[in-house]
C-alpha cells in the first residue's frame, strides 16, 4: 500500500502555525502542510464522521490561514474604497450595503481568476477575506491597484474560525443572542465574552453557519467555548473539502485559476448587472473585454457538476470523454471524491459547452477504465442558508 502522505518524512519546520495550532494538537488532530501552514486535515473522529456531523449538528473549522485584509479609504468616504476596489473585481461594491457581504473575484487582463474572496462593507472600511495561498499576491495586487486612494492592511493579529451546520445558530446564540437576527451574508461586529469579533453569516459548506474573526489573544478562549458545546465537533480540512464539493463551491487552484474565466466557471451570478454590458458601471475591471463577450456569446467550456454512476470516486485530474472508448475528449474533472451526505461519488469539472447540459452522459478515465457519469446541476446537497 502506498500512503498518500507521510508527514513524518517531511520537513515541516518552515510551516507557519495558526493561533489555534496547539489546540489542534491537543485535540489529537493529524496535521498536514497546506498553503504554507501546518493544518489539521482530520481529528480522531475522521473525515466521514466530521462531514456528517457538520450537516447534522455543527462543525468548527480553523480557517485562520486565510488572509484578512482591511481596505480603508483615505478620504473617509466608503464610496471611494468601493469604486477603487471595483477596478479589480467585476462585482458591485458600491451597491453593497453596510453590514453586508458579497462573493467576489480578482480577475486578470485575460479574464482569468487571480483569486476568489469575500468582501464586506463595515461602514468606514471594506473587510476582505482571501485564500491563504494567494494572500500575499492579493495584498500586493491591492496595494498596487488602490494604494493611492486607500490604506490597505493585512490583519495578522486575528484568527478566523467557521461554525457551520444546522445547530450553528443555536450554539452561537449562547455567546451572542443577536446572532439569530442575522441573515445569510449579514456581517456584524459583536462582543463575545467582551472580545470584539466580526461575525458573518456565511461559510463554505452549503450549510447555514458563521465565520468569526477573533483577535489572536482571545482566539483559543472563544474557540474552546464553542467546542465545549455538545453539538460542536472540530472539523479538519478533509471534511471541509468534501463539504464544499457537495455544496458545489469552487476551490481556488483546483476549480478556478488564472486559466479559467468567471463565465467558464459558471460564476455569472457573482457579477451583478451594474458591472455587465448595459449596467451603470459596466466593465472597468481587468479582463472585462473577454468576460463581457463571454456573457454575450457564451464560453467554449463550462464548469458543471458530474455525478459518477457507480461507487468509484472520480478524482480531480481525470479526463472526461464523450464516449466509453476514450476517443473524444471533452473535458477534465477539477474536483472529485466521495460525498458522505450524498453517499456516493461526486465531482465537478470543465466540459465543452456542447456537453454541458444537465443529463449529458459522459465518461471519465479512472485507472484505464471509462466510468460513466452524468452532467448534474450543482449543488449535490440542498443549501440551507437562512436568507
Amino acid at each position: 500500500m502506498r500512503q498518500t502522505w507521510r508527514p513524518d518524512l517531511e520537513d515541516i519546520s518552515h510551516l507557519k502555525h495558526t493561533p489555534l495550532h496547539a489546540l489542534h494538537l491537543s485535540l489529537g488532530a493529524r496535521m498536514v502542510p497546506f498553503a504554507g501552514y501546518d493544518m489539521p486535515v482530520q481529528y480522531p473522529e475522521g473525515v466521514l464522521k466530521e462531514h456528517l456531523h457538520t450537516r447534522a449538528a455543527a462543525g468548527l473549522f480553523d480557517v485562520s490561514h486565510m488572509g484578512q485584509i482591511v481596505v480603508r479609504p483615505k478620504s473617509g468616504r466608503i464610496e471611494d474604497a468601493a469604486l477603487a476596489l471595483e477596478k479589480l473585481v467585476p462585482v458591485d461594491i458600491l451597491g453593497l450595503a453596510e453590514g453586508r457581504q458579497r462573493y467576489g473575484l480578482f480577475t486578470n487582463d485575460k479574464g482569468g481568476i487571480l483569486d476568489d474572496l469575500m468582501i464586506t462593507n463595515l461602514g468606514d472600511h471594506l473587510f476582505l477575506v482571501v485564500n491563504a495561498a494567494c494572500k500575499d499576491a492579493d495584498f500586493a495586487h491591492l496595494k498596487k491597484g488602490l494604494g493611492d486612494t486607500c490604506e490597505v492592511k493585512m490583519l495578522d493579529d486575528r484568527a478566523l474560525v467557521a461554525l457551520q451546520g444546522p445547530r450553528a445558530e443555536a450554539v452561537l446564540c449562547e455567546l451572542w443572542a443577536d446572532v439569530a437576527s442575522m441573515r445569510f451574508m449579514d456581517v456584524a461586529e459583536a462582543d463575545l465574552h467582551d472580545v470584539t469579533c466580526i461575525i458573518s453569516r456565511s461559510g463554505y459548506t452549503g450549510e447555514d453557519g458563521f465565520e468569526i474573526s477573533i483577535p489572536v489573544t482571545s482566539a483559543v478562549d472563544v474557540t474552546q467555548r464553542l467546542l465545549e458545546h455538545p453539538d460542536v465537533m472540530p472539523i479538519g480540512l478533509g471534511a471541509r473539502d468534501s463539504l464544499r464539493l457537495e455544496a458545489g463551491l469552487c476551490l481556488y487552484g483546483n476549480d478556478i485559476d488564472t486559466g479559467t474565466t468567471p463565465v467558464e466557471a459558471a460564476l455569472e451570478w457573482a457579477i451583478q448587472k451594474s458591472r455587465r454590458s448595459g449596467g451603470d458601471r459596466a466593465g472597468g475591471f481587468p479582463g472585462a473585454e473577454r468576460i463581457l463577450a463571454e456573457f454575450a456569446n457564451g464560453a467554449k467550456r463550462r464548469r458543471v457538476g458530474l455525478k459518477p454512476e457507480g461507487r468509484a470516486p472520480v478524482r480531480g485530474g481525470a479526463k472526461v470523454y464523450a464516449d466509453a472508448e476514450g476517443k473524444v475528449a471533452v473535458g477534465t474533472v477539477t474536483s472529485g471524491g466521495f460525498g458522505p451526505s450524498v453517499d456516493g461519488p461526486v465531482a465537478m469539472g470543465y466540459v465543452d459547452a456542447a456537453q454541458a447540459g444537465n443529463g449529458a452522459k459522459l465518461y471519465a478515465e479512472v485507472r484505464g477504465k471509462y466510468l460513466p457519469l452524468a452532467v448534474t446541476a450543482l449543488p449535490f446537497v440542498k443549501q440551507t442558508y437562512k436568507r
Binding site: 475522521g46 468534501s242 485507472r367
Partner: protein, 120 residues
C-alpha cells in the same frame, strides 16, 4: 506463516497460497474507506504491481501485490462494505488469495516483530 511488507500489506501463507490484506496500521492511516476495487480472479501480478485500490473520502491509494503470483479468490465482502477494512483489517477484511509463483520468496518479507518495529 504470517508475513508483512514495508508497504503495509500482511500475508497469511499456507502452502503456496497467501491470503493478503492491509495492516491495522495502514487502515488507521487511511481513515474511513468508502470504496474498494479488487483484481479479478485469474489475473497474474508481479511483486510490486498495483493489485487493488482503496479510497477514503479524501484520497485513493494502491495496494501492491506483495509477491509474484496469480489471484485465485477475492473478498467481495469488502467491496460491498468497505468499512469492514477499518473494523477488521487483519481478519474478515482480507483482500485476495494469491497462488505464489515461488513460495520461498516469502522468506525475504518482514516477520511480525520486524513490521511492528517499522511502524512503531
Amino acid at each position: 506463516m504470517l508475513k508483512f511488507t514495508e508497504e503495509h500489506e500482511w500475508l497469511q501463507i499456507e502452502g503456496d497460497v497467501a491470503t493478503v490484506g492491509i495492516t491495522e496500521h495502514a487502515a488507521g492511516q487511511l481513515g474511513d474507506l468508502v470504496f474498494v476495487e479488487l483484481p479479478e480472479a485469474g489475473a497474474s501480478f508481479a511483486k510490486g504491481d498495483s493489485a487493488a485500490t482503496v479510497e477514503s473520502v479524501k484520497a485513493a491509494s494502491d495496494v501492491y501485490c506483495p509477491l509474484d503470483g496469480e489471484i485465485i479468490e477475492v473478498n467481495q465482502a469488502i467491496v460491498d462494505d468497505p468499512s469492514l477494512v477499518n473494523s477488521d483489517p487483519q481478519g474478515a477484511a482480507w483482500f485476495f488469495k494469491l497462488k505464489l509463483a515461488d513460495p520461498s520468496a516469502a522468506n525475504a518479507l518482514l516477520d511480525e516483530a520486524a513490521y511492528k518495529e517499522l511502524v512503531a
